[in-house]
Symmetry: C2
Subunit: 128 residues, 2 copies
């Protein structure tokens, strides 16, 4: 019942990028790594997932780096969580007696509330 550190790193890297230059400049992982105190290789691996999910872009080579996409303002915290950790289920029913079960239903409801909260928070909201 814990978010991964990778998600933590990703969110912070994004916040750093947002505060730095918006979507104008390419920022090498080196810079982010320094700011967050995380190894370049690991952070790069994490950010690659955000690239794959198309919330940031990347360019290799000299003067390359990561850059926010135009749509960044509408990306939600949940989007990032999913990009990093995939779609998670809070509750893994060890037995599963079917739909109408109250334990399952309760956990699902709790999970929905959690997810909706995170869906409703856009990255932009985090900057205010």
């Amino acid at each position: 019942m814990k978010f991964s550190k990778a998600t933590d790193y990703a969110l912070h890297a994004l916040m750093y990028m947002i505060h730095r230059d918006g979507e104008t400049t390419k920022i090498p992982v080196q810079d982010l790594s320094l700011a967050l105190n995380v190894s370049t290789t690991y952070l790069s691996k994490v950010l690659t997932r955000i690239v794959k999910a198309n919330y940031i872009s990347s360019t290799s080579g000299a003067k390359g780096g990561y850059r926010l996409q135009q749509n960044w303002e509408n990306v939600s915290v949940y989007d990032i969580v999913v990009a990093i950790d995939g779609v998670q289920t809070l509750f893994e029913d060890s037995f599963d007696h079917g739909e109408e079960c109250r334990i399952q239903a309760t956990m699902m409801e709790a999970q929905e509330n959690l997810i909706n909260t995170l869906k409703n928070k856009k990255l932009k909201d985090l900057t205010v």
Copy 2:
């Protein structure tokens, strides 16, 4: 971002006890273990935490076993989660820049929503 299996087992054991006899009979872990298909030793270890939290009682020796407390109806799903896994934080801030941070605040809010949902579900509600 997952509830533990132990919590799963505990909830199911409790449901079993509730459906069996309410708070009248002592049920040996053997029975529960059989019903849930979990080893007696492990299940016992899990249930001991529920005993410690005072939601069920236990008596050793022949004719012993676990029994619901009078107050079981008002025990919430969250109570069980805490009894098993302790108070958990969904988000471990790797850096922590303080109170006013929006990332932290968002995660806290999401966590609160999750917890409140589980607090509002009593074991009794699960039987309906």
